[in-house]
Symmetry: C2
Subunit: 210 residues, 2 copies
């Protein structure tokens, strides 16, 4: 999903200022949506295919998609604008910094879909399911808040389960083969469609922060 650098995007993305606000509104996110509603956040939202579909299906939820790559986020914003999806905002932000912008208990659910597996051992800490990140997630989630996690990377999933257990998190609906399991309401990401079509298995679980 990496694009070649496109310098014109720095200008073009400004037209989507209503969809991509400045990420400096700690504790103030509901105002952006002009309504109080549960806040669900996707970490690494990419081109926004997943969050757009999700937001359309669940108009009663406020969605925020976080993405560190401006070029990718531009296309996500384009999608949200074209489809006129009112309950999505997008943030140009590194996941490292989420605790700077959300207050404790502000988020109900997190989504992580096919994040970078960082396979090298020395990069363990960069994996978005590392205990270091889990503590950040805990600090912004409500009690009973959830993390919905999908990956096609077996080693990352094995690692993640260990990290979840280490952080005293509960599991629900663990599957090692999402597309052959009886799981009703899966929203498929662009990446997932591509890899699943190649016969690769998709691992998924729901993690509960009690």
């Amino acid at each position: 999903m990496r694009l070649r650098k496109r310098p014109w995007i720095t200008e073009a993305i400004k037209q989507y200022a209503a969809i991509i606000p400045e990420p400096q509104r700690e504790g103030d996110w509901q105002k952006l949506f002009d309504r109080e509603a549960p806040l669900h956040v996707e970490l690494g939202t990419g081109r926004g295919g997943f969050i757009s579909e999700l937001a359309t299906r669940n108009p009663e939820i406020n969605y925020i998609g976080i993405e560190a790559n401006q070029d990718v986020l531009y296309y996500a914003a384009q999608k949200v604008a074209e489809r006129q999806i009112a309950n999505i905002r997008l943030l140009l932000l590194n996941v490292e910094n989420i605790t700077d912008i959300f207050t404790p208990g502000e988020v109900s659910r997190l989504y992580i879909n096919f994040c970078d597996p960082w396979p090298k051992k020395r990069h363990t800490k960069r994996r978005l399911t590392n205990s270091r990140f889990l503590e950040r997630y805990r600090s912004i989630l409500i009690k009973g808040g959830e993390l919905f996690f999908k990956t096609d990377n077996q080693a990352l999933f094995e690692f993640s389960l260990t990290e979840f257990a280490g952080a005293n998190l509960k599991l629900r609906n663990v599957t090692f083969d999402l597309h052959n399991d009886d799981f009703g309401e899966n929203v498929i990401t662009e990446y997932e469609a591509k890899f699943s079509a190649k016969g690769m298995k998709i691992f998924r679980c729901e993690v509960i922060f009690e």
Copy 2:
């Protein structure tokens, strides 16, 4: 691994009384070995191939193999006797009843290898990784005690991970493909050899009771 019923075994098994003591010695297991040593217990020891190999490799550990099927246990005892393995005792017992024979903190580690997956939903409670069993294991294990779990059944492994998390247990060395992972000291069971040879993946993890 099920055998046809062999009535002569009821008599023949008596010759192994030194290896198969009566399972009624709560808190008293170390005496059987004439020494104090960490006690490791295999639940469903079958024909005893796994525990025999393990006990030979680790002479400093006392091993107990538990098996509910007398006919199978006979062959396990035969193996232990022939190889003159001093640090194994075998018990004819249903795992349901382990809390009757062990006292709290008596066991350091449990092994469950390829237990019956009980795939039907109404049989969930019979699975040896069900929360009901996990509480029994906790009550006989030392603090920091371990459960080493292997299976070729994906649905059982998915289920088990959820149960482990639900019971606040920690995980270590989770693998979804034991034989292709870099895991040094795996002792292979008869069942495992057969199924792995067919290309089936073996799931394994270590569970810590803190």
